[in-house]
Symmetry: C2
Subunit: 199 residues, 2 copies
DNA sequence: GAAAAAAATTGAACACTGTTCATTTTTGTT
DNA sequence: AACAAAAATGAACAGTGTTCAATTTTTTTC
C-alpha cells in the first residue's frame, strides 16, 4: 500500500467497512486496524471522525447524483419523475448502510451549519428533479413550484430513512417501492388539481 | 424523595433532563447524579438505557395521542385531518428533544423487533386518523384506503424528524407548518383525483 | 427486640467510544 | 553523513454503557 495517498486508502477502506459491517462498526480503532494506519494518522488526515463521515456522505451523494443524471433524457417529464424516484429507492436499498449515514448526519448535526460543499451536492440533485417538475407543471408559478418540489423531495428523502432499516416491517407489510411510488403519484395528482383550481 | 417509587422518580428526572438539555445529555451517570440514585439502581430498574428511553418514548406517544384525541369530534373530516396535522406539528415543535428520541429509536433499532406495547401505541394514533380518512374517502376500497393512509402517515412522521433539528434551515426558508400542511393537502387532493378515476 | 435471611443498593471496574499530544520514525535538505 | 522538518505513532485522557462482588437496608423469624 503506497504511502502517498493515505487519505484515499482510508476513505476506501472505511467505505468497505461501512458497506459490509454497517455504520456502527466504523470506529477510529477499527478503521485503524483494518487499514494498517494508526489512530493518530486518521486524525492527522481528517481532524475528527465526523469529518471522515462527512467525506463518505459526499461520495454517497455524488454517487446518487451520477445515477439520477443518467435518466435526464429519458421519457416524458412524468415518466422521468417516476424513474428518478424508482432509481432513488433502488440506490437507497442497494446502499442501506451508506444512506443510513447520510440521514444520521442530518439528524445529529443539530446546531452545526451544513458546509457549502455539502449543500452544493444536495442542490445539484434537487435541480435535476426541478427541470422535470417545470415541464410537468408549466402553469404553476415559480415560488409555488419550488415549494411543491421541496415538499415532495423532503418527504421522499425523509421517508427513505425508513428504507435503510427494517423498522417499517413491524408496522406494515407495505412494499417499500410501492410506498414511495404511491407518495409520488398521489402528490403529483394533487398538484395537478391545485394547479387547475388556481387558474 | 420517597424510596418506594424509584422508577417514577427516575423517569421524571430523566424526562426533565431530556427536555432541558437534549437527548445527548441523557447518560446513565448524569441521570444518576441528577436523581441521586446510583448507576446500579438505574440498571436494576430498567435493565439498560435503551429500555429507559423506550419508556420515555411510550410516554411521548401517549402524550401525543392524548392531544390528538381531543380533536376527535371537531369539524368535518377534512378539517379534522388538518387539525390533526397542525396539532401534530405543534406537539413536535413543543417537544423537540422528546420527539427526537422517538425517531432515534426507530432508526437505531435496526434488526430488533418493536414490542407489542410500542406498536399498540402507534396503531392507536393511526386508528384515530383512519376514521377521518374513512369519512373523507368513502369510495376508496378498504385496502387502498389503508395503504394511502399509511403512506401519508409515514410521510408526515418521517418528515417530522426534520422538525426536531434545524437541519432544514440550511436547505430552505420554508416554514415548517407550511411544509407539512402542503404535503397533507396536496396528498389529499391527489387521493380525491385517483378515487374518481377508479370509478 | 435481637439475630438471621432476603432483598435492594451501591460504585469500582471492564470494555468500549472519540480525541490529544509527547515521542518516535521517516523524509528532505545541506 | 548530519541536521532539520515533517509525518506517523500509540499510550493516555475523558467520556460512554454495562456488570457484579460487596455493602447496606429491609424483612422475616425466633
Amino acid at each position: 500500500m503506497s504511502k502517498d495517498n493515505i487519505q484515499e486508502n482510508l476513505v476506501n477502506k472505511g467505505r468497505e467497512l461501512i458497506k459490509e459491517k454497517g455504520a456502527e462498526y466504523l470506529t477510529a480503532r477499527k478503521l485503524s486496524e483494518a487499514s494498517g494506519y494508526s489512530v493518530g494518522t486518521i486524525y492527522n488526515q481528517f481532524g475528527n471522525m465526523d469529518n471522515f463521515i462527512l467525506i463518505q456522505n459526499y461520495l454517497t451523494l455524488d454517487s446518487l447524483y451520477a445515477r439520477l443524471s443518467k435518466l435526464q433524457a429519458s421519457g416524458t417529464a412524468y415518466q422521468r419523475l417516476n424513474l428518478y424516484t424508482k432509481e432513488f429507492i433502488d440506490f437507497v436499498l442497494e446502499n442501506k448502510n451508506l444512506w443510513f449515514l447520510v440521514h444520521n448526519f442530518h439528524l445529529h448535526n443539530n446546531n452545526r451549519r451544513f458546509s457549502k460543499v455539502y449543500l452544493r451536492r444536495v442542490v445539484q440533485i434537487t435541480q435535476l428533479v426541478e427541470s422535470s417538475f417545470k415541464a410537468l407543471f408549466p402553469n404553476v408559478p415559480l415560488p409555488e413550484r419550488i415549494l411543491s418540489l421541496q415538499v415532495l423531495w423532503l418527504s421522499l428523502f425523509s421517508l427513505s430513512s425508513f428504507l435503510t432499516t427494517d423498522a417499517l416491517d413491524s408496522f406494515s407489510k407495505i412494499n417499500k417501492n410501492t410506498l414511495c411510488e404511491l407518495l409520488l403519484n398521489t402528490y403529483l395528482a394533487g398538484i395537478k388539481v391545485l394547479e387547475q383550481v388556481q387558474e
